[in-house]
Each structure stands twice: as C-alpha cells, then as structure tokens.
Amino acid sequence: MSVRLLKYAFIEDHAEQPWFGTAGPLRDSYDVVIIGAGGHGLACAYYLAHDHGITNVAVLDRSYLGGGNTGRNTTIIRSNYLTPEGVAFYDASLALFRDLSLELDTNIFYSERGHYTLAHNESTLRTARWRAEVNKHFGIDSEVVDADAVGRAIPGIDLACGGNHAVEGALYHAPGAVARHDAVAWGYARQAVLRGVEIHQHTAVTAITTRGGRVSGVETNRGPVSAGCVLSAVAGETPRVLDMVGLTSPIEIFPLQACVTEPVKPWLDTIVVSGSLHLYVSQSARGEMVMGAALDPLEVHQRRSTFEFVSGLADQILDLFPAMATLKVNRQWAGMADMTPDFAPVMGTTPVDGFYLDAGWGTWGFKATPISGKTMAATIAAGRDHALVAPFNLRRFDDFRLVGEKGAAAIGH
C-alpha cells in the first residue's frame, strides 16, 4: 500500500479507477448462485474462488452491492462472546480480519480500539465475569476491570451516570476493533471478480426452483438461471427467501437504527457499550461519533428512521457523556436485523439439497463476514457443514439445541 500511496502523490490525475467492470449478460447456468451481494455473500464468492477453485459463480443482488446491513452497520469487531461455539467462531474471524487489508490488497482501515462493556449493576458484572472466564479459557484477551480503570481509560465519562445508574466496572476486550464496512465489501468483490466470479447488481431472485427435492436454479427479474448450489445470504430478507423453498425458521425481522454526529477532533479512542442504557458509541476515523441503540420494538419490513430512536438515544448518552450535549446529529438510518431466539446465526446445509443458508446475523454479523464467507465456501465445496458452522445449523431448532449467546450479543454487537 505504501508504494501505491507514494505513486499517488506524484500523479496528476487522482481519479480512482473503477474497482471492477460491470458484469455482462446474465448467463443461463452457474455452478453456484449466491443471493445477496452483502459482505457475507461476497466473502463466500471470494473464498469459493480462492480456496476451492470454484469460479463459475454468480452473486445476485436486487439492489446495489453492499447496500444492505453491510453498508449500514457500525462495524464493531470483537470475539468476547459467551458460548464456546461463539468464541471459537468469532475469534477465527478476528484472525482473518487482521490480515484482510493485505489479503484483499484493499485498505479496510482495521483499527484496534479496545472495547468496554459497562456494568451498571451486580448482575451485569456477574455476566461480565462469566464471559471473561470463558474468554480466557479460549485464550482471548478479556478481563473485568473496576470503575476507576474505566474512568482512566474513557475520557469525559460520568461514572455516576447522571446519578441514576453508576458504572460499577466493565468487561474490557483489548482486541475490540472497527473497520471500514464498504471497503470490506468492495475488497471481497474486487478479488472475487479478478478470479472470474460475476456480480450482477439490480438482479432480484424471485423464486427458487427445485427438482426432486434438489435445488435446480433460481428465477430472477432478468430471467431464469440454473445452478446446483444456491446460497441465501440476504440478512433482513431471509424469511422471504425461505418462503421460496418452503422452509421455516425462527428468524424475525426488526429494524435496527444508528446515527452519526458532526465530526469533531479525536477524543474517544475506545468503543463503549452499555447494555443497561441500550447504547454504544465509538468515534470514526473521520471524527464522527457513531452511535446505536437496541432494536426497534416492532417487526417492520422497511428501513425508515424514527425520531423516537434519536431522542431516546440522546437522552441516555448524555447521562454517560454530558459533554456531547453540544454535538449535532448529522445522519441517521436503519437496517433490517434478522433476529434468532438464541442470538446465534443460522448457517450451513438445509433440508433442501443444494440450498445453503447464511443468516440470522441480527445485529452482530459484520464481525463474522470473513469467517462466514470462508466456512460457507468450505461447506458448499464439500456439500456438508464445516466444523465451525455445524453448531449453527437450522436443525438445532428441531432438536432444542440452542446456542445461548444472548448475554453477549444483545446490545454489544
């Protein structure tokens, strides 16, 4: 990258070249069709080509590349989860993230900030201790710190929290990071296209065709396409795609909103999360305060923003950071979170042969983009679940073998 930067300083024309050309006509047939050009679908396409030499692949998106939850998320990356299955999975993702700029030859602005999950009462502190112990057991840098340490590490924080719910301590996770979401999607897209994958934007899948219980292809607004393997990586639209193959799941869709303030000088270098206050905040490389809260209370299939969200968030965040009262909110937006009852994803093979699922990523799936792509590619190449995704199979809801990740996933992303 540094050589490229040096060259950039000496050239006259600073127009960025297109990252990849537009795909030609949609062909009649591919080995693999991926529905959804979000981070997950694009990463899977890249690893299919890179790790398994499967390049006859089409990624179809009804809208534009990265325009779903990938381009709307607040990019918190961490691995201090609560279940052994979750910890192993997210830690493998962090390992991939650390080298991703080099692997994709794209600066994803991966920035390790440290991640504080604040505890305002005894029971949260107990869960923090539990998480720290599980994390340490798996070799993850995670510890419980007291309120003084929180006060020293987080400038401007009011530890009394407006006098209502004083901070008692926190779970601290040094590897907690943020990254540039668009760059992750574009980087995977470019490297996949370089290896022969086709990305067709504005191509909606309207039906999935099967023959004798096996997937045979998809119908799109641009005509039918045959394929022996179809992966659904459509996040907030998963239930609609499952309807097309006659499968059900526990996934329910709720809007999740976020906002950014006007940019200010760097003052907050860590990521701060409070489950009790239902909020989290970090400062972007551009200086904006990036903030989010809990899910909207009602199922809605729409990406509208609400005033209740910003006013509720502002009310809470000012208890924690009174000095933010002078900041103006610049933008707010929403995504559609695909929630599961155990706050763990739904991945892998399904009862329909050749139909694969990567969903249930709710409010926390950006951090899993690399490892989901890699393990789903391995799953599709082998026709059976990769060891890391096996615990997350849709089947767990028939066997009542849920992966209880709620204590670590609810607000913390």
């Binding site: 329910e252 299939h301 509208r304 809801f397």
Partner: protein
Amino acid sequence: MKYAEFPHLGRRPYTEFAQAGVLEPEPDELAPEAVAPWVYARRSVPRERVEWWYHLPTRLWFRVRRDTASDTVLGVEAARGDER
C-alpha cells in the same frame, strides 16, 4: 410518533404499548414432532397479521391488525376478559 385509534382509549401513540407478538390460536394438544415448529417456526415476511398489544398505563389488552410492510394499524379490537 405513530398513532392509532383504540376502543375505550381513543387515539394513542404506539409507544404507550408493549407489543407481545403475533396472535396464533393455541392448540389444545400437540404431537411430539409438532412441538418444535410450534415453539420456533415464524413467518416474518411483509404481510397483514394480528398481534397482541398491551396498553401499559391502563393494563388493557388489544388485538391489533397491522401491515408489517408499511407499519400501519388496520383495525383494533379490545380483548375479551376470558382470552388467554
């Protein structure tokens, strides 16, 4: 703020209610293999559906028909005292 018209209460904002999910008739008996689907299967696609809403200030329950694509309330009925 979104509002809807409720029997007994008149025009109230959504935020005064706790929404307790979709209304589905509870079967008297469930075969063992039907238990998991009853507990977990959802159909979270844009559609009209009937939901239980609970008015926090008055503790009254309502059946609310709502379009989950446009988030508009299409009809409200007060729940009867003997409903579960």
